[in-house]
């Protein structure tokens, strides 16, 4: 199977890559959100402690 045949998927490229592309996009967004949430949570903990320290 040549590379162009692989990409073409015998004329079903839109459906096959549309499915896997969306799945990939969802996974990337989910990972980004999880990483962001982690950073945000740690930042909040530090900010809360700093606020208490000032009192």
């Amino acid at each position: 199977m040549s590379f162009s045949e692989f990409i073409d998927m015998h004329g079903r490229a839109f459906y096959v890559w549309g499915s896997y592309g969306m799945a990939l996009l969802v996974f990337i967004v989910e990972i980004a959100l999880v990483v962001h949430k982690r950073k945000l949570t740690l930042k909040q903990i530090r900010m809360m402690r700093d606020a208490e320290g000032e009192q």
């Binding site: 004329g11 459906y15 096959v16 499915s19 799945a23 989910e30 990972i31 945000l40 809360m48």
Partner: protein
């Protein structure tokens, strides 16, 4: 040597354990996805009837099965939290639900993209498709209800009831293809045997395990943030190196 499982139901110990386990599950998921995609998209032969569009099943079937299975696990954790008032169970339910919702979304999306070339339509209001759509909405309802109540313990209890009542939908999805006249086919993998070419089976199984490992990694990573958020006043959180 006996393992004290109750030790790990304490958020502080589970936080550390989840941190150790998550990278392993993520690595396993990455390897299995690479292998599964290679077998499914390249090695497995073209289907005699469906052409190359059948390759969509390698992502559609695992995410569909897991969207139902994860829902039941979420409901199980929610029920545990409700009955025993354990904090970690409710946190696990909250950590798992977003991944389940996204799997339900991928299942619906890839199903539509498979249905268009195979059935001739992206969508029909058929029993299987509609009940899976309801599953997606139940996930969203659970997440939204939990987020809308400020007191986390009350949010846990209210959303637990919703997710438990909603679990009646899962057998409806599963048996819909047998109970009603539907456009969606039944299982190809049956106890009596699998009517599928060997490399196709391998691709499907590999992708299924990959999705499973991915879901576990995401849940563990998400629950770590939830634990920190809920326990932020506790001394052990303040003492963590990453919080300093």
């Amino acid at each position: 040597m006996a393992i004290n499982w109750f030790k790990y139901s304490a958020p502080s110990t589970f936080y550390a354990l989840a941190g150790k386990l998550a990278p392993w599950f993520a690595a396993i998921a990455a390897i299995l996805f690479a292998a599964g995609l290679y077998i499914g998209l390249y090695v497995a032969p073209i289907d005699a009837v469906q052409g190359d569009a059948y390759r969509i099943i390698f992502i559609h079937v695992p995410t569909s099965i897991l969207s139902m299975f994860i829902y039941l696990v979420v409901a199980g954790y929610a029920a545990l939290g409700l009955i025993f008032n354990t904090r970690l169970s409710a946190m696990m339910a909250s950590a798992m639900a977003p991944t389940g919702a996204l799997f339900a979304f991928i299942a619906l999306w890839t199903g539509a993209f498979w249905g268009r070339p195979t059935w001739g339509t992206y969508w029909v209001w058929d029993a299987r498709l509609t009940s899976e759509l309801i599953l997606f909405f139940l996930y969203l309802g659970f997440i939204a209800l939990h987020a809308s109540i400020d007191d986390p313990r009350r949010a846990d209890r209210a959303s637990a009831l919703l997710v438990i009542v909603g679990s009646v939908n899962v057998p409806l999805i599963y048996f819909s293809v047998y109970w009603w006249n539907t456009i969606h086919q039944g299982s190809t993998i049956k106890p009596t045997g699998i009517s599928m070419e060997t490399t196709m089976q391998e691709a499907l199984l590999t992708m299924f395990l990959a999705c499973w490992a991915y879901a576990i990694a995401m849940t563990l990573w998400r629950v770590r943030s939830i634990i920190l958020e809920r326990e932020r006043t506790a001394q052990w959180v303040q003492d963590l190196p990453e919080a300093n």
